[in-house]
């Protein structure tokens, strides 16, 4: 059985596949995430976290992006 969880619970240095986006997310954030390539099947790599872990630095679609844990908590990965 596949293990689905939220990107905000991911570990540094690990690679994940995006499964879907949660429904309870404001539309502006959702649109921006889609525009930056957060689709189902896309690979995402967590490279670092900020001092208290509130922000993730991720690698997606050939570039490095910052994303808050709140936003990462809207992305379902496996």
């Amino acid at each position: 059985m596949k293990n689905f969880f939220l990107l905000s619970n991911g570990k540094i240095g690990q690679e994940y596949n995006i499964v879907s986006m949660c429904k309870d997310i404001d539309i502006k954030t959702k649109t921006r995430l889609f525009e930056l390539g957060f689709f189902c099947g896309e690979k995402i790599h967590i490279r670092a976290t900020s001092i208290t872990g509130g922000v993730l630095l991720i690698e997606i679609k050939g570039s490095m992006l910052t994303i808050r844990k709140r936003e990462a908590g809207c992305v379902v990965v496996e």
Binding site: D26, F34, S50, G62, E71
Partner: protein, 701 residues
């Protein structure tokens, strides 16, 4: 009109500067351009207006600065849109291109930042995309001139044969369009695009169509489907054109150290300490002394000697000696330090470090209702408050924008540097660097406290996104940094030559002439400024600097902070011979008969007051436009009250420390701190319910 549009940090402003021979601010950071910049140029007798817009990922704006760009694209009459893309991240950049194409506008694509890691077939991209594509290196003058000719030529004919239309094949959207016909759709040439965006739940377009989500049922999954199809189309273009980019943009081994949880803050503090040291001491102080010597001892003395031999009117010679060379000359002598500060900030911007700082500080700034992007406002505030206020546009929430704009006037900008260097240097010598660092920190801490207060009360922010792309580290462009310093020098000198020159002369006249317009050095008596200063000065008695000179200098400083030091030098008749300028200033402060009479305690109090009391006129004007009259007025009142309270506290703590000794003071502060913490814990304990002591829970009765 030719618009330059594209993702953040692709080189739009660099290209704009090269095309129009301008010197607009550029940087290796997402959010440098926050305001449209326009310039008209003439080519073969024809006039063309180029407009550089803030960065956009798509035509769905997510912040105030993006709204500026989207409104420009949708409303202004333009002959051409130059969509600047970066070769490093073409896949993401082309998303915006597809949307611009859908509007049926005349669009060309300019691919910037070409390097040997990128392989691309331009003709195949053109063929698949259906738009003209040009390759460009915005830093190469010859290349830019060729591009310019092509842009001018392409602006005369529409190269785009496509315009988005909703047809019956797209059943969902077609039905939605039919339902919308009762709303405002007439006269809008891009109506199908607006309807598409509206169906994708974009409130910006729904507002334009004057409708909302509740009116008609929308398919929640349509947004993802639409964007995915767009990316499939982009991928097919890039595969067809054999596009290949090796490496990941923004990834670097240096980040393992710079972004390390335990090292990032010490590294940042170390960098800022080095910048302060080089600016205020070593290089900065040396260059400043040399310039002061040249202006006052070489040029000033000779000009005054020349005039004295030819003009018998004493006050004219004194105006030149004290008003112009003494006043304006004092301000100009700080030019090297101002330029150095801008130079170092430019290096931080150019190398790509600012994004990393934003990432590291987002956690802390989020707690006060801001975001990591506010770090840019803090850093820009060290240069100029006016520019820093504008960076608030990168915020996505209105309340966060107001709070961010309010940070800027609390920063120790370059105009306040002369006050710290002269007043602090006169009393504390080498120890002044510690005082200056504390003043910088005080400004930052107070601004963040204010932000926290507003976050808990009247300006609570909604949850903001913090999605920024890390740029790749790049070698600092020496040419750009020198250009930036030169440009800041010109801006400083033009300000000196206009506002500050006029203000220094006005201050000198008010200080040298009585109410009956008699020249004071000849007839004696009180000057106009002394009369006014004596009325105002009494309010500064609790702060320790209640002399007419300080009151008058602070009054003049409302217009421009640089004038504070020049006014003080003028009032105290500080020697023009600057063998030991700080020594002359220091001795003048010690004389109780001086217009500006200070002690070490009142000097610190005065510096704290100058840091906080009021934004300058230019900043007030920008704040008025960015956050409105109400919040600008509130900020001015808050700043004055904070300045007064902090100065009072600092003055009295210093005086008490002088009497009881620093060790005793530290012990006293620690004891007070322990007392406060214990009292707080005790009061919290008291809330435990007395009827169920054993459960040790907080009683809610």
């Amino acid at each position: 009109m030719i618009l330059l549009v594209g993702n953040p940090n692709v080189g739009k402003s660099t290209l704009f500067n090269a095309l129009t021979k301008s010197n607009e601010h550029t940087g290796n950071w997402h959010g440098v351009t926050v305001k449209e910049k326009e310039k008209q140029i003439s080519v073969d007798g024809e006039k063309f207006e180029f407009v550089d817009l803030p960065g956009l990922y798509s035509l769905s704006p997510n912040s105030f600065e993006e709204e500026v760009s989207v409104n420009y694209v949708l409303t202004h009459d333009k002959s051409l849109i130059v969509n600047v893309c970066s070769s490093e991240s073409l896949q993401k950049n082309l998303y915006l291109t597809t949307e611009l194409k859908m509007l049926g506008l005349n669009v060309i694509v300019v691919i910037n930042k070409m390097n040997n890691k990128t392989i691309i077939n331009i003709k195949k991209i053109e063929e698949k995309l259906g738009l003209k594509v040009l390759l460009c290196d915005a830093n190469d003058k010859k290349n830019v001139q060729k591009i310019k000719k092509q842009i001018i030529k392409l602006s005369k004919i529409n190269n785009n044969n496509y315009k988005y239309e909703i047809n019956k094949n797209n059943i969902e959207l077609y039905n939605y369009k039919k339902m919308l016909q009762t709303f405002e759709t007439k006269g809008n040439s891009n109506i199908d695009f607006f309807i598409l965006k509206s169906y994708c739940q974009d409130k910006f377009y729904q507002n334009k169509l004057k409708m909302n989500n509740n009116m008609i049922k929308i398919n929640d999954n349509y947004l993802e489907k639409e964007i995915k199809e767009r990316y499939n189309y982009i991928n097919s273009i890039l595969n067809y054109s054999a596009y290949h980019q090796s490496g990941v943009v923004g990834k670097s081994k240096i980040d393992k150290i710079l972004l390390n949880k335990y090292l990032c803050l010490p590294i940042f503090l170390g960098i800022m300490t080095l910048i302060f040291y080089l600016t205020f001491f070593s290089i900065g102080a040396f260059l400043s002394e040399q310039l002061r010597y040249f202006l006052q001892d070489v040029v000033g003395e000779n000009v005054v000697k020349f005039l004295s031999e030819r003009i018998t009117i004493v006050w004219i010679v004194d105006l030149v000696r004290y008003g112009i060379f003494g006043g304006v000359g004092t301000i100009v002598s700080f030019l090297p330090q101002v330029c150095l500060m801008f130079l170092f900030l430019g290096v931080l911007e150019d190398c790509g470090y600012i994004s990393r700082l934003a990432f590291c500080f987002d956690d802390a700034l989020k707690k006060v209702g801001l975001s990591g992007k506010s770090i840019y406002t803090l850093l820009m505030g060290f240069g100029c408050s006016t520019t820093a206020c504008l960076t608030a546009r990168t915020m996505t929430d209105k309340n966060a924008k107001i709070k961010t704009a309010m940070l800027a006037p609390f920063m120790s900008c370059s105009a306040k540097l002369p006050v710290y260097i002269v007043i602090g240097g006169a009393f504390f010598g080498a120890g002044n660097i510690g005082i200056i660092v504390l003043l910088y920190l005080l400004g930052i801490v107070l601004s963040l406290c204010l932000s926290m207060f507003f976050e808990k009360t009247y300006l609570k922010s909604s949850e903001q996104t913090f999605i920024i792309e890390f740029p790749s580290y790049q070698k600092v462009s020496v040419k750009r940094i020198i250009n930036l310093s030169f440009h800041s020098m010109l801006t400083f000198l033009s300000r000196v030559g206009s506002v500050l020159f006029a203000l220094s002369i006005i201050v000198w006249i008010l200080e040298s002439f009585s109410l009956k317009f008699e020249y004071i050095p000849l007839v004696g008596g009180k000057s106009m400024l002394q009369n006014l200063g004596e009325i105002i000065s009494s309010i500064f008695i609790p702060l320790g600097f209640a002399s007419w000179g300080t009151a008058s200098a602070l009054l003049a400083g409302i217009v421009a902070k640089e004038v504070i030091v020049s006014s003080i030098a003028m009032f105290n008749n500080v020697s023009n011979k600057s063998e030991n300028f700080l020594g002359s200033v220091s001795s003048s402060f010690a004389l109780s008969s001086s217009a500006v009479f200070l002690s070490p305690a009142s000097a610190i109090s005065f510096m704290v007051f100058c840091l906080l009391y009021c934004p300058c006129m230019a900043t007030i004007s920008i704040l008025n436009k960015e956050i409105g009259k109400k919040w600008t007025f509130i900020l001015i009142i808050i700043q004055f009250v904070m300045a007064y309270l902090c100065s009072f506290v600092v003055y009295n703590i210093y005086r008490i420390t002088e009497k009881i000794g620093i060790l005793t003071m530290i012990v006293a502060v620690l004891l007070i701190f322990i007392l406060v913490v214990s009292l707080t814990k005790f009061l919290k304990k008291k809330k435990v319910c007395s009827c169920c002591v054993n459960c040790k829970k907080i009683c809610h009765k």
